[in-house]
Amino acid sequence: MMSTTPLIETHDLAVRYPNGALALHHVSFEIKSPSFMAIIGPNGSGKSTLVKTALGLIKPSRGTIKVMGYDSQKKSGKIRKLVRYVPQRDSIDHTVPVKVKDIVLMGRLLKKLPPRFATSKDIAAAKDALQQVNMEELWERPFPELSGGQRQRVLVARALAGEGSILVLDEPLAGTDVESQDLIVAALGRYHKENDVSIIMITHDLNPIHTLVEDVLLLKNTVIGLGEPCSIMDPELIKKVYGPTARIVEHSGHRYCMTHDSGIDRHD
């Protein structure tokens, strides 16, 4: 696609947390479209805040951020038509007895107007998406009964089932086991390759996806680095973000980043 509109474009962006502390400052960068983009950085580095600001969920205290040329404040409606969003798993309520199918269909029905009836096409898309993360048998299962990794897979399926050229995923690998992680990463990689969509993924750790990712944004309340995975995997940069104990390890052709903070997987 010969698109010249950048996926994300920020100018001197500054955003505060609800408690008033500065989450992001002096953030200016541009990412071409389409891209498979990873936003990495330690806890509290402003990754989620950046994404939420891009979707118009948080108001910046200075500067602007545009998604596909649309300003996140003035044109958030246009942006949200394009976006499919997977929030952090913990922000999903577990007391409502919704079924897996309800969650996945949500990805499609949210883009419709009330009464949001599910057509056979919607159901087929939802089933297909569940199949991609190997969860099609749990169609009728109550969502709150699933394990953490299974919930995460269902949420990724919700994004895959929907329509819209941008997938935004906030820590989709957090608290998942190796199997769920592999399934999610494979499904996203395949989806990005086969469809003309951009993927923006927040992650603690680049390792599981570093072969798929095209652009990496390294954040620690401001932009520390932006580039291809290999250039970001630089010992000096990583130390700057994750502290002096972080190391890069070369192992069978891949570079791995070792930190106290992240690690390839956090088992809950």
Binding site: Y85, P114, P142
Partner: protein, 314 residues
């Protein structure tokens, strides 16, 4: 059986009580269910007491001659909407704890306001304020039924139309907004319509019955039933059953129907917790039986292997 029908046909107050039972059960199913889903069970009592402050304001304005047309019920509805709006504002980010705090604060504020006004209301009218909390399902008049009926209808229509949106707001408010749904509007709609229904139901049948019927059947169903539609339906049945038994009992024993209905509703929750515990125990026993030593061995080996891999990668 024919005797009973005869009695019902001949007694308009029983007809009104039965109608009100159905309507309260609908309110509990439509509104109580979603309040429990959102962890806002406290809102039922918060709104009822806020309405008390509103009723006090109405009585004060009428009595002092400042605004003679201001009926206490208007004040009650106004205050309940204010509580809903305030709660909604505190919970715009979808955080339940903040909404509970907002309910608590507005509860305290309205009660203080009511007590403040009591000094300026002639003493013989003060019981009117408290009377707001003590309705009785057997003492309803036609106006009560019309008011309650129209709110129930409004609530039922809105819930039928927007039940998906209400579920989405309850499950994932942020994600719904990010996908382009106006989650904030539905969030407020749900709270305000619920508050109106709670305020009118309190006026009609009394606070105790409203707390019990709004919260306990929904909490009980949510423990046991595994679909949203199922929960709504179960709440309706439990609430209606409790109320009908309450009314029937009040003819046999010398008791208030609300008391019996409230006790039954509360018991339904305790019973549900117990059933769930027994059910979970049975589940665990079945799981244990399936876990043969072979399975455990493979799981163990896999776990060790994974740990080994992880060690390399870190």
């Amino acid at each position: 059986m024919i005797d009973i029908i005869q009695i019902i046909i001949e007694s308009p107050f029983i007809q009104r009580a039965l109608l009100a039972s159905i309507m309260i059960a609908i309110i509990a199913a439509a509104s109580g269910t979603f309040l429990v889903f959102r962890g806002l069970s406290f809102m039922a009592s918060g709104v009822a007491h806020a309405a008390l402050g509103g009723a006090a304001l109405g009585i004060f304005l009428q009595d002092s001659g400042l605004v003679p047309w201001f009926d206490p019920i208007l004040g009650a509805l106004l205050f309940s909407i204010l509580v809903a709006a305030f709660t909604g504002y505190a919970g715009e980010s979808g955080i339940t704890q903040k909404m509970e705090v907002a309910v608590g604060v507005s509860f305290a504020l309205s009660m203080s306001f009511a007590v403040f006004l009591m000094y300026y209301i002639p003493p013989y009218k003060v019981p009117l304020i408290w009377g707001y909390l003590i309705g009785d399902i057997l003492l309803l008049n036609d106006l009560d039924i019309i008011m309650l009926g129209s709110t129930t209808l409004l609530l039922a229509v809105i819930t039928l139309m927007f039940n998906k949106e209400f579920v989405y707001v309850s499950v994932d408010m942020e994600g719904s907004t990010a996908h382009g749904m106006n989650a904030r509007a539905y969030h407020y709609l749900m709270l305000i319509v619920s508050a109106l229904a709670i305020a009118l139901a309190t006026k009609a049948v009394g606070a105790i019955l409203v707390y019990a019927i709004m919260v306990a059947p929904a909490a009980a169903s949510n423990e046991l039933v595994k679909s949203v539609r199922g929960v709504i339906f179960a709440v309706f049945l439990i609430a209606l059953f409790a109320e009908l038994v309450g009314i029937a009992a009040s003819f046999v024993l010398f008791v208030s129907p609300s008391a019996i209905a409230g006790i039954l509703a509360a018991l339904s929750y305790i019973l549900a917790l117990q059933i769930k515990r027994v059910r979970d125990r049975v589940d665990v026993e079945i799981d244990d039986f399936n876990l043969s030593p072979d399975d455990l061995n493979t799981t163990w080996n896999q776990a060790v292997a994974n740990e080994h891999e992880d060690g390399h990668e870190h």
